[in-house]
Symmetry: C2
DNA sequence: TTCTGTCTTACGGAAAACCGTAAGACAAAA
DNA sequence: TTTTGTCTTACGGTTTTCCGTAAGACAGAA
């Protein structure tokens, strides 16, 4: 089993139960920090002292407070940690439940496991630790399924761009110019209108306002 | 100090740390349930057995799972609990951080305390329990301040209704009819346009899409 | 190469939203 | 009561969006 684990979690109550969970697993060394910056320091120091961590368990969102931090988000921490310690195992422990966001963690940050703060999270975390220790990914099957179900409609890059631009306040009739600048196709006004219609119809909407809220909530824009 | 406390929290890890926290406070009887429906049953049974709870600590959002529940949300539980036990003290322990939503809990549900799942939540919870025990409200001052700062713009009932209707897919030109049905004023098309302009200008927006997302994120609609 | 089907674009009329102005309603003060 | 200022409504012209149609571009098959 893992010998040395670092926990980065700013929420005190979550941190407490993580401590208890790891204690149950009889991990030899477990360190707990409340800030991303501290986590990175500890990882660096551990490397320097030739006693690297086996596993990082981190939250995603960290509350800003008086102690200004360089790393503001769990993803920043993961990226930096991988710089100094490329083969560090990483399990993310977060409340995030947007499948597209979680999937992105596996795809782009190559995390090893994801445990959502939810009903059986403590049990799931234990499972995740065992699974990752066995060199496997702990990726709840529900996620991939949810991605498929939820995104019953497949947004193209252009789709996302169009909705983003609307959300940023661009007038629909100006969007073709911007799409051309970004070398995206199709980029005619007709196509913009058509894509908007397709998106709305697929999701049962009639107004752009609904589409914008939907995409924002799903983390697509 | 409180003798008998009930905790309704579906997130296992949060539940674990709540248990530890109450243990630290040496509460005589603490019961833990993972569903709103169970919580209500326990409250009813406690009343029947003439051993009522002194305090309910509850989350707001409960994850739906296979066990279908009558009460789906913490607010439902609080309402029902108050029906059978009007003077039950209630502390809400949740991740919700939208000031308008939290304020609503104090104003309408008359909760006694709110502790947000955040950096020092375990400490805050202890404070909250002490404060509520002393017959005072535990309402983080930051909330009222945030309400003022954040809602630099004051939305009227009509404003909220207009944005809601847009979000529900109503065409702007039909909104006057609906406002008249609901006996809201002003209700002319001109006024709808004017209110939308005022809202957008106040918040630095140019498109309704931005306004809809803003109001949705703030929990105003 | 030509044919064919699909995707993209262009265009134009209709509908909706936008925006300024002026008239009307209403309440508080004189 | 009248006056005054503000809020609400009505109206019309302009801009933007919507939507259907047709022309054009393009890739794959014959």
């Amino acid at each position: 089993m893992f010998k040395k684990i670092l926990i980065a979690e700013d929420q005190q109550s979550a941190n407490i139960s993580l401590q208890k969970t790891l204690h149950d697993l009889q991990i030899e060394t477990t360190d707990y920090v409340y800030y991303c910056d501290h986590a990175l320091s500890w990882i660096k120091n551990a490397q320097r002292d030739q006693a690297p961590y086996d596993l990082l368990i981190t939250d995603l969102s960290f509350e800003p407070d008086n102690n200004t931090q360089v790393l503001e988000h769990g993803t920043d921490l993961i990226r930096e940690a991988r710089n100094v310690h490329p083969d560090l195992k990483v399990i993310v422990f977060s409340g995030e439940n947007r499948p597209s966001v979680i999937d992105d963690l596996f795809e782009n940050l190559k995390i090893d496991g994801y445990v959502r703060k939810a009903r059986h999270d403590a049990d799931h975390l234990k499972q995740a630790i065992h699974t990752v220790y066995n060199e496997k990914r702990y990726q709840p099957s529900a996620i991939k399924q949810a991605i498929r179900e939820e995104n019953s409609f497949e947004f193209t890059t252009v789709d996302i761009t169009i909705v983003s631009l609307l959300y940023q306040g661009e007038m629909q009739k100006n969007i073709p110019f911007i799409l051309k600048q970004r070398q995206l196709k199709p980029c005619s006004l007709s196509s913009v209108e058509k894509r908007l219609n397709i998106m709305k119809e697929a999701l049962g909407f009639v107004k752009n306002e609904q589409l914008a809220v939907y995409c924002k909530e799903k983390g697509l824009i």
